[in-house]
């Protein structure tokens, strides 16, 4: 069965220019993501992982290489960046507002998502009244409000404390699976990447190249990320990727 390739990067390179000099962030990145797939990109910090997402979102023009993105992209950041002056509902409607979509149907959709994911009582609350986990869920629903085909996640859980993080990862994973999203996650947390992903791209240090690609197989498929952590192969993948990342060499 041939699945549709939603995202396709071919030999992409990115060099940043500043007065101080030029920084080669990406040397050569080739990456494919298929429909419905959850792909993680892990790499040492500062290796240009976020740059890849910015290129995919169309915020940056790569210096070289071809970029093909099939469908609409939703981008979720490390911090929730909710607008403090808007209530939950209006925060979620910012995307449809900008894209001049029909606000009535967007509102109905957003309200439905908010109710479905436990925020039904908080439609008119302001962000400061929400917990960290709730804020992150609102941020996800804001991203989903424009009905994206591909979701870009830039370490969206790293601002949360460990307990919250494990639950939020499960919640987000459930939402993504139910909404049948294609997702690309950038993270430096190997365990998180293994527990969530179908495939993992491991990047080298800057200038980044793809060092290896792991296809994650589960003993029991279809479990939540938290349950996946108990999988017997989890440790094996973790050790392999850990070695590959060569983190100790950085210190």
């Amino acid at each position: 069965m041939m699945r549709e390739c939603k995202v396709c990067l071919q030999d992409v390179a990115m060099t940043f220019q500043t007065l101080e000099g030029e920084t080669e962030a990406l040397r050569s990145i080739t990456l494919d993501v298929y429909e419905g797939e959850f792909v993680s990109i892990v790499g040492p910090s500062g290796c240009g992982k976020s740059t890849i997402l910015n290129i995919l979102a169309g915020l940056l023009e790569p210096t070289r290489g071809s970029v093909k993105v099939q469908g609409k992209v939703g981008y979720m950041f490390q911090k929730d960046h909710l607008f403090e002056w808007r209530n939950v509902l209006r925060n979620c409607l910012i995307g449809p507002e900008i894209q001049k979509q029909d606000l009535k149907s967007a509102r109905a959709y957003v309200e439905q998502l908010l109710r479905k994911y436990g925020l039904g009582d908080f439609l008119y609350h302001y962000p400061r009244q929400l917990s960290g986990g709730m804020r992150q869920r609102v941020a996800l629903i804001r991203t989903l409000a424009i009905c994206p085909d591909i979701l870009l996640l830039d370490e969206p859980f790293s601002a949360l404390d460990y307990q919250t993080r494990l639950t939020v990862v499960d919640e987000v994973w459930k939402i993504l699976r139910q909404e049948k999203m294609t997702a690309i996650l950038v993270t430096h947390d190997i365990a998180e990447a293994i527990s969530l992903s179908d495939r993992i791209y491991v990047l080298s240090r800057r200038p980044a190249v793809v060092k290896n690609i792991y296809t994650i197989e589960r003993t029991v498929p279809g479990l939540t990320p938290l349950q996946n952590r108990k999988d017997e192969r989890f440790r094996i993948y973790f050790d392999q990727i850990w070695k590959e990342l060569d983190i100790h060499a950085e210190i």
Binding site: N54, A57, G58, L59, V73, G74, Y75, F77, Q78, K79, H81, F83, E84, W85, R86, N87, I94, G95, E97, I98, Q99, Y126, I146
Partner: protein, 269 residues
């Protein structure tokens, strides 16, 4: 709000304590003011101080009543308040518009930077004589003085506010496909609102400074005119009365801005 009969005794005690504290602070504030004026009055009566140079509350009151009956009071108050409002609004709006332009064009912002620094450091009062020569010795010179004194600070603080909005919030908007106008209207402006209000508060004060300075230099009416005139003819009753009316006007205007703040920033508290 839960009804008081649902409150625990501890809670009720706490609330009562808070209320008593609030009332006692307010009464003390009033008492300090009353004591000050009373002491002033008595000291003048008993010749501890020379009421010719310090004036006296009862004489100030008399002055106020006379000015009230001749209608002079309202002419002067209105003149000054009007000049301040015009100077304040034009300085604020002008500053805001220029700040928006400089935010829009980083090139212009970099060009303007040294000029803003110098103009900000320059005491605007020094421009008074130039303004009189250019605009004549009338109200326009006074209003422009008030405007000049507030506009530069407004530009600088607004622009700083605009530029300090989180880069990622802008990236988020761009990822949704927002252009510069949308980003400004939906993120930069609302995010800078607290900043803008504090600029307004500063500007109210600065506009009063500008207007009174202007009235000191040129004027035929206004509280600043009364103060400088009263000083020249050693009519201290008039000076003191004007100063107190001025303080009241400034306070009212400040409270108005503070009220606006509470209305606009409801999401913050």
């Amino acid at each position: 709000m839960p009804k008081s009969n649902h409150l625990s005794p501890q809670r009720r005690q706490y609330l009562r304590k808070q209320k008593i504290q609030r009332i006692s602070i307010f009464t003390t504030q009033i008492a300090v003011l009353a004591a000050f004026f009373w002491l002033w009055e008595v000291a003048a009566d008993l010749k501890w101080i020379d009421s010719f140079v310090t004036s006296q509350p009862s004489r100030m009151w008399q002055t106020m009543l006379t000015m009230h009956s001749t209608g002079e009071l309202y002419l002067h108050v209105w003149t000054t308040v009007w000049e301040t409002i015009i100077g304040f609004t034009s300085g604020t709006i002008g500053g805001l518009v220029i700040a928006i332009i400089l935010w829009w064009s980083p090139f212009l912002a970099r060009v303007a930077d040294p000029y803003l620094v110098v103009l900000n450091a320059l005491p605007k009062v020094a421009l008074g004589p130039i303004l009189i020569v250019w605009l004549g010795n009338g109200q326009p010179a006074i209003i422009v003085m008030a405007l000049l004194i507030s506009i530069i600070v407004t530009i600088i603080s607004m622009l700083q506010g605009f530029l300090s909005v989180d880069e990622d919030k802008i990236r988020l908007m761009q990822a949704f496909g927002a252009g510069k106008v949308t980003i400004f209207a939906k993120v930069i402006l609302p995010a800078s609102l607290p900043n803008m209000i504090s600029a307004l508060k500063v500007n109210v004060g600065l506009s009063w400074v500008g207007v009174i300075m202007g009235e000191f230099l040129v004027s035929k009416a206004g509280l600043g005119h009364l103060i400088i005139y009263g000083g020249q003819v050693f009519h201290l009753d008039l000076v003191m009365t004007s100063v107190i009316i001025l303080a009241l006007c400034a306070a009212v205007m400040y409270v108005a801005v503070a009220y606006l703040e509470s209305k606009l920033l409801r999401w913050q508290s």
